[in-house]
Amino acid sequence: MFYDFLIYALLGGVGVAVVAGPLGSFVVWRRMSYFGDSLAHSALLGVAIGIFFEINLNIAIIFCALLLALLLVAMQKQHFIATDTLLGIMAHSSLSLGLVTISFIDDARIDLMAFLFGDLLAILPEDLLWILFGGLLVLSVLYYYWPQMIAMTINEELAAVEGVPVAKMRLLLMLMIALVIAVAMKIVGVLLITSLLIIPAASARPLSRSPEKMALLASLLGCAAVVIGLLASFEFDTPAGPSVVVAAMAIFMSIYLWPRKASR
């Protein structure tokens, strides 16, 4: 009843969810969900570039996400349009650029739907290594810089006065989100990655009284959503990404609708 591909997908999904917990919490705290969306959209351009130049897709995706993050930082220096407008332009431009580029590639075997919405069959043992080492790297960096990142999230000016290199931390956070998006893309797809970051974190918020607890709980709830979603996807032959997101949403709804004492 259990096939290799399903075990790969479950292992990969759980690995991604563990890392997405704390990172997703930062996305929620720092109101970066639109930024995450834009990075995710640029991942398709990464896929196109990767296929075109025949380089590793993960590397191409990370490269593209980084390019977009740096471009955004540079563009924020002008004062004519606001950041959300910039993000909207970049997200859809990079998605469209990716789609247009892919249409030029002759290889008809490229499954666009798999990239957009995730594919249960797409996870290979090689991807598991990416998730394992990428995840360990992100978790170690997060652990090492946790106090600084929390201080920066509370208030950037206060953190700067207290000696936190705020610009460096901000860039580091963007890099880690880019890395997670690259490895998560195969499971939930370009269009739904942000939900894997923000829904478990948002679900964990009312149950948490400290940032550490929220990050940990977000990881656990994310894992639950991935396992439930992927098993349902296998059982009912539904698309993998949307199934995981539906499971995450169900958890979110039941936590918010569950009667409980008012707490902050």
Binding site: V28, W29, R31, P147, A151, T153, I154, N155, E157, L158, A160, V161, E162, A202, R205, S208, R209, S210, P211, K213, M214, R264
Partner: protein, 263 residues
């Protein structure tokens, strides 16, 4: 002996062509409370952020003593309600900070009972004390406070100024604070700098506690904790903020320092 810990020389700052700070020079000394006053938009916060290193001046120099530790209490700290945070966790500024240090800090600002509370939903005065405790945990040589009594009722304001004064006495640190209130009298300051883009005047707040009309007005008890900065400008401003020659009185003591700053 008091020595300089901060020196600003001929600092100019402008934002998109608008001059916010013009040719400002001043020094801060050890064990001295300096208060910046002036109307809204006078450039007080900008100047304080320059001292903090958050804003680089367009011209002029900012010198800080080597390894000067600064504790900063910002004007208003908005913490997003998506961020779960108790007062205790907020004060845990590093992993190796012992809980006894946090207990001492909250005790010194009288908020020990708030330690387990959520940071969301504190009153204005409580939040200021929490921020003050966080600043104190760094054992600062210089405490910088941007409008520390904002959003605090009158009694709370007197208490906060008294607390800042006590902290200076206990720790011997210097204090730089902003107030935009010309009328609120301050006993907790040794030196006042009045600015409106440039420095209009500076000096020590005149002790008026013996003045009978003052005691009549505020009562003897509050007279002990309050003093008025005698406010003589050597120039006036027109509606555009341009400097005009003085029309009424000449400043008599604008460059003198208070006793506590003896130098």
């Amino acid at each position: 002996m008091n020595t300089d810990i901060v020196r600003l020389e001929q600092v100019n700052i402008s934002f998109s062509g608008k001059e916010v700070v013009k040719n400002v020079s001043f020094n801060l000394h050890t064990n001295c409370i300096t208060t910046l006053i002036g109307p809204n938009g006078a450039g007080k916060t900008t100047l304080v952020k320059t001292v903090l290193g958050l804003i680089k001046p367009d011209s002029g120099s900012v010198w800080l003593k080597d390894e000067l530790v600064i504790g900063y209490v910002p004007q208003k700290l908005h913490i997003d309600s998506t961020f779960p945070l108790t007062v205790q966790r907020f004060l845990q500024i590093s992993r190796d900070l012992p809980s006894t240090a946090i207990a001492d800090a909250v005790a010194s600002v009288n908020i020990s009972d708030l330690l387990k509370s959520s940071i969301h939903g504190l009153s204005g005065g409580e939040m200021q004390r929490v921020l003050l405790a966080r600043a104190l945990l760094r054992n600062p040589h210089l405490l910088v406070l941007d409008e520390p009594v904002q959003g605090v009722d009158i009694n709370g304001q007197i208490e906060l100024y008294q607390l800042i004064s006590d902290i200076r006495k206990q720790r011997g640190c210097s204090v730089l604070m902003i107030s935009h209130d010309l009328h609120l009298v301050m006993s907790a300051t040794d030196h006042v700098i009045c600015m409106n883009q440039h420095i209009c005047c500076s000096g020590h707040p005149e002790k008026i506690t013996s003045d009978p009309s003052y005691i009549d007005l505020f009562g003897a008890a509050s007279a002990k904790t309050m003093a008025l900065y005698a406010h003589h400008h050597n120039h006036d401003h027109n509606l555009h903020g341009d400097v005009l020659p003085a029309t009424l009185s000449e400043a008599e003591d604008s460059q003198q320092h208070g006793q506590e700053c003896n130098h």
